[in-house]
Symmetry: C2
Subunit: 213 residues, 2 copies
Amino acid sequence: MTRPNRPQTRPHSRVEIRQHNEATILSAAEKVFAEAGFGGATMQLIADMAGLPKANLHYYFPTKEALYRRVVEDIFQIWLHAADSFDAAEGPAEGIGAYIDAKMEISRAHPAGSKVWASEVMHGAPVIQDYLETTLRDWTAGRVAVINRWISEGKMAPVDGDHLMYMLWATTQHYADFGHQIEVLNGGPLSDADWQAAKTSVKEVVLRGIGVI
Amino acid sequence: MTRPNRPQTRPHSRVEIRQHNEATILSAAEKVFAEAGFGGATMQLIADMAGLPKANLHYYFPTKEALYRRVVEDIFQIWLHAADSFDAAEGPAEGIGAYIDAKMEISRAHPAGSKVWASEVMHGAPVIQDYLETTLRDWTAGRVAVINRWISEGKMAPVDGDHLMYMLWATTQHYADFGHQIEVLNGGPLSDADWQAAKTSVKEVVLRGIGVI
DNA sequence: TCTTTTTCTGACCATATGGTCAAGTTGAGG
DNA sequence: CCTCAACTTGACCATATGGTCAGAAAAAGA
């Protein structure tokens, strides 16, 4: 045997412990906040799901609100990066198509995160109001500018850029936020094929709707 | 002066009192549940907003959950009636166009209700699961059947009926559920003209997207 | 007017929850 | 080893909350 330079059983260095526990707590918190909302979530529930004593949560995150804030901020970052595909595109068919794909993937991979975000915004964005007013506002203005450029270049139909963005967000996030309703109507969880069909349907209607099909 | 057969100051008959108080409580509850979620809402807050002592709420609605249930059920009814315009239509341009109009009007007139519904579904529909499985399921199947008929008659492009319904719900309800975010990006509340533009944009993209423009 | 039924409400209670703390345990550095 | 700092956690506390209740007030009916 080679020497066990990285022990598999107990890799408990200080930084490892911290990273691992924070990640575990954040993951559990995301689920609980998504399922119960901020008010309905309890630190005890999060602690149980994380497999840690409640007091330990307060060691890493001083208050429930601080923990919630971290969850929302992390989601926001993931959420913003979906725009990368948008920017690198030559025209709307490629750019918006890729953006829909990316956002649908996020809805599938991070449904809890999307729900927390939705809940936060629905309740008036008490903790990320500043993000809305700065980061999101600038971000949106940038995408709308791209859309307007495409329109002026005759690459797509002249639709309102802001409302188009809202449509993209709404349609894609709906599959996460209203996933439960969709599953009920679908008669069970969406299969790989179902998700493919969803992506195809959304892209088809939207892309034809902006005149690029 | 004519005789005051209907006294303006104190029309306090038994049924009037009951109707008035129930309506007041339900209205206040809708707002508070929308703003704070079920878990974050408190009976005291609802009571204050309704201008009644807390104990009085429990006289009309035995528990917080019973009150919440009534709020959700009332919303669901309004929500379903938006389909009337859908059914009476000859073709998709008229039917789906009218449905979008109706749902946009609801988003504008009952944003709190829409949020409560969204929150309920996001949390796994703990109180209206049966409605989803029965009423909503049948309702949706009916509309999808109409869509498929239109498709088979060549009146619109062959898009998946279920996913089209999801798109309609998502795009229209987004203006209620994410109204706060939209207002921030818009730089203030949506004016009449803004709402008109929103309706026009949504209808334009969707109707062109299903090939009826 | 008198009785009955409904409505109203301040005071109260049991419980749950966010958060604290002091005493332990464990890894890191010397 | 030994010391120190980081981490862990059971027990505890103050508060807030959903819900109860007994008695007052008011309307309906006789």
